[in-house]
Amino acid sequence: MNAGDRIRVERGGVTNEGVLMPSTTADHLVVKLDGGYNVGIEREDAEIDVLETDVYDVGETQSDEGESSEIEFDDDLPTISLISTGGTIASTVDYRTGAVTAQFDAEDVLRAVPDLAGRANYRGRVVANILSENMTPDVWRDLAQAVYEEIDAGADGVVVMHGTDTMQFSASALSFMLDTPVPIVFTGSQRSADRPSSDNVMNAVCAVEAAKSDAAEVMVCMHGTESDDVCALHRGTRVRKNHTSRRDAFETVGAKPLGEVDYDAEEVTFRRDHAERGAVELDLAADIDGEVELVKFTPGMDPAALDYLDGKSGVVIEGTGLGHVHTDLIPRVEELVDDGTTVVMTSQCISGRVCDRVYDTGRDLLDAGVVEAGDTLPGTAKVKLMWALSNLGDPADAMGRNLVGELQEESKPWT
């Protein structure tokens, strides 16, 4: 008896007929009845007859069907490269585990989101097939390399489909690694693609529109509100996932989003200056130092928590308020700096700039050699430090300066 077989089960005087589902466990048979309902039946004392084998190929998805995925080329349309890394936007239900997993490649996304058709010529590419919590700096490097190759091969824009959990880290990494003459747009979905209400369709459509625009920036394109009306375009280094489940979870910190895509009007507008298409030569600097930690200070923190930082190339501290840690920890921080670790201060306030000149604790931290990262987001600061350590002569100096829009020189959150 296998998943996909049609069976008849008799137990406790009730007879059920249906297709055996792969979610069956050692204790329970899961049967899809003819009405469509799944029901769990205890195996114990159950009488089972296999009526017909392989009625359904339940494990397969439509990606294996013979539908042609040939995509016609239209000279009048720009070419957009779709790069998949996995995540909710390209996911479907895994009927073995019952969980939502990524199974599609970029062409499947085209099939899954027919609304993309006619907007561009598409090139599809799969860099990874992982949930974004499993993302690593190695994959950032592969992703940057793939994006570089796609642009080099003539793509007029790149859309990266990415899980939302760590999208802001990958977007930051590509912001530092690439000089890009075309838009690089990250998108994903907060509500899985297997539901009719998924935000994947609108996010993907808006991301393609943004990738056709003139902003040669690394951006994140996700719902701007809870409605299916507008996607916000966030600068990759200034964006943060601020909600676990809402569609409009992503927000630009310390400013309004860089721009918007109106879903109905298919119109891309920008609020502030942005790098223009074609302004820079394509270049890649994908080296990255993996020996960097992000440490959040909280009251009662065991000073031993800093011990494992010995020997790291860099440490980003997510301090309290203007950028503080408990006074007793400052000598440990000083030791790290003296041993050659670049120690950078950010704030767990999320919004606002660190300033360690206001209170004694801050001044002591500066004396200990800590570098202030301005209003750089803690996660972005980690990625920046990883990149700066491998690519710049004076990483500590770079952490206090703006490189690619990650550090706002002026605090004007209303703009």
Binding site: G35, G36, Y37, V39, E42, T61, Y95, S197, T225, E226
Partner: protein, 622 residues
């Protein structure tokens, strides 16, 4: 209405009953199950839905047809709804209270509860569920209820979430209210054991009684909905949705049988005439100068007119299937599904401003012979194409007979086309909610309403009419709680069935009185802190001022703190004032003086106490 020989026609009918449960929270979140007015909405948002494939790789016909119309859905949210209703947060676990209630219902219908219940997603892309699916779980199977025409099997019982309330139909979408979305809903499906319209109605009544016996179901308009499945031999299974009133069920069954009988007659006629349906085409030219309001309106706003030749259909499109509903109405219903206002057909033309010359030109344009009919649609270009296609497909189906479909109940006992029958493909597992293993062994089987009626008479001495009123009434649970707390059953029965009605008649806003307030008032009476005679006044005050507690209302009405001494003082005063009458008439003066004494106490004292004190005082003097 024609009476048919249902046995000869091979009538097979089944029921699907949907009943909202009166639980504290919704099925998959902690929002309360309260209904709101649209004006109370605190925020709104809009969404689109896109059909997806089921785990078996199929797209449901109903979902596909729904999605052909690109519609925008707007939702009203309240301070009593949360992100789960907005599909912006994963659902919580299945509500334990709701599961308990449906297991009670299962026991009442002698059903077997499943070993493991799996929550499924039933794809619904009409916007009534923000997620694009309704969560539903099979909880019990294989039961039975009794009717006077024999037993009716119960196929299955599902626990599911109620959909959002449709508030407004718009050109390009629908406005929904989220207050109803997620209220637990039990769905009970009978086996197709029903063989007459009367039996259908009786079965629905019995199921309704069993549901209400739990004391945990919502009451009032729209809280229970009946779907009826009907087929006759040679006909087809047709599912009729949303019958609001039990009284309509037999009519709905009769009318559907009539419709299928007529459709079969039309089929025979069409086949005899070798009927077929032509290719839809653009016939705008015919109507370029038309004075018909509908056509003019469409053309002036840049639309067009499409038409289709229905070869061999002449006279049959206008044939009546149900009171005032023709085959043409069915074609129209299909066209409407695609956004058109409806169709015109040659059986009803010339009319609606369409002239005889235009009809002739139309016939010529599509090559129609005299035995043919022509149907047309006037609308914007895309709608006109989709709608005429839909009407043509329905006309073709008429040649085959009765199409399987889902229909909606109209108020007059007729039905209209809604959508194709949903298939099994519309379901896939709700992976956000783990399966549950229900345990029916702990469930208390509720007393049936019919049993309650008996008990209220034998145990509490209520008369048969009042006992039935209370047992079937909306405040039955309140009655039982009050009596459990030691209140006088006759008094409480009168309170919940008569007093409240009287107050409503006097324009007291009794809807403001909640169960807890009523119970508090009853408790004051039971404890002797409030005379029964003062209850109306206290309730009226509470209804006007719901923020008051029952004690405060009693105080405010000046009905508190009447001791027996005060009663005696008041009675003595009355007796002394009428001393000569008492001396002359003795106890015969009682009834007159009783009224005076009660008046003096202004309802603050219990009549029984006043009466016994008065008796004593008269006896002393007589």
């Amino acid at each position: 209405m024609t009476e048919y020989d249902y046995e000869e026609l091979g009538l097979v009918a089944g029921l699907e009953i949907h009943q909202q449960l009166d639980t504290a929270t919704k099925l998959f979140c902690d929002s309360p199950t309260v209904r709101r007015e649209p004006e109370e909405a605190t925020r709104t948002f809009t969404r689109y839905l896109h059909p997806t494939r089921s785990e078996l790789g199929e797209i449901d016909d109903a979902a596909l047809e729904e999605s052909r119309v690109d519609r925008e859905f707007e939702y009203l949210a309240y301070d009593t709804t949360c992100l789960v209703e907005e599909d912006d947060e994963p659902p919580a676990k299945l509500d334990a209270e709701a599961l308990d209630v449906v297991m009670q219902i299962s026991e009442l219908m002698e059903m077997s509860v499943v070993d493991q219940a799996h929550v499924m997603r039933k794809i619904v892309v009409d916007g009534s569920n923000t997620s694009g699916f309704q969560r539903s779980s099979l909880i019990a199977q294989d039961g039975e209820i009794q009717t006077s025409e024999g037993a009716v099997g119960i196929e299955d019982l599902m626990l599911e979430e109620e959909s959002a309330q449709r508030i407004e139909e718009r050109d390009d979408g629908v406005l929904y209210s989220l207050d109803r979305l997620g209220i637990p809903l039990v769905e009970i499906g009978t086996k197709p054991d029903i063989s007459s319209p009367e039996q259908a109605r009786e079965a629905a009544e019995t199921i309704g009684m069993l549901l209400r016996s739990t004391g945990k179901v919502k009451r009032g308009l729209g809280t229970i909905r009946q779907d009826v499945n009907v087929s006759i031999a040679d006909g087809a299974r047709v599912e009729m949705k949303g019958v609001q009133s039990l009284d309509d069920i037999d009519d709905i069954v009769r009318n559907e049988v009539g419709r299928q009988v007529e459709l079969l007659a039309i089929r025979d006629e069409l086949q005899q005439r070798d009927a077929h349906v032509g290719e839809p085409q653009d016939v705008t030219d015919v109507f370029a100068d038309s004075d018909s309001g509908v056509i003019r309106g469409a053309l002036d706003s840049g639309g067009k007119v499409t038409g289709v030749r229905l070869a061999g259909f002449d006279g049959l499109v206008g044939r009546e299937l149900q009171p005032d509903r023709r085959l043409g109405t069915e074609l129209s219903d299909h066209a409407k599904r695609h956004g058109a206002g409806g169709i015109f057909h040659t059986d009803e033309l010339p009319a609606y401003g369409v002239t005889e010359e235009e009809v002739d030109a139309l016939r010529e344009a599509v090559g129609a012979e005299p035995e043919d009919a022509v149907a047309i649609v006037a609308a914007d270009s895309q709608t006109a194409d989709l709608a005429i296609d839909a009407a043509a497909v329905r006309a073709e189906a008429a040649i085959e007979g009765v199409p399987e479909e889902t229909r909606g109940a109209n108020d007059d006992g007729t039905t209209r086309y809604l959508r194709p029958l949903p298939g099994a493909a519309r379901m896939y597992p709700e992976t956000d909610v783990p399966p549950v293993e229900p345990d029916p062994s702990e469930v208390e089987v509720p007393e049936l309403l019919t049993e309650k009626v008996e008990r209220y008479q034998s145990e509490f001495g209520l008369d048969a009419g009042l006992a039935e009123q209370v047992a079937y009434g909306r405040r039955m649970p309140l009655f039982e709680r009050a009596v459990d707390d030691g209140a006088d059953p006759t008094f409480v029965a009168g309170l919940v069935e008569s007093t409240v009605t009287e107050l409503r008649r006097d324009d007291v806003p009794v809807e403001n009185l909640d169960d807890e307030q009523l119970l508090a008032v009853v408790a004051l009476v039971t404890d002797g802190d409030l005379a029964k005679e003062g209850v109306n006044e206290v309730l009226a005050l509470l209804a006007e001022n719901p923020q008051l507690s029952a004690e405060e209302a009693v105080e405010e009405a000046g009905l508190s703190g009447v001791s027996e001494d005060e009663v005696r003082d008041a009675v003595v005063e009355v007796v002394e004032r009428n001393e000569s009458q008492v001396e002359n008439e003795g106890m015969a003066a009682f009834s007159g003086l009783m009224g005076e004494a009660m008046g003096a106490l202004r309802g603050r004292a219990d009549g029984e106490i006043v009466s016994s004190v008065l008796r004593e005082e008269i006896q002393k003097r007589a």
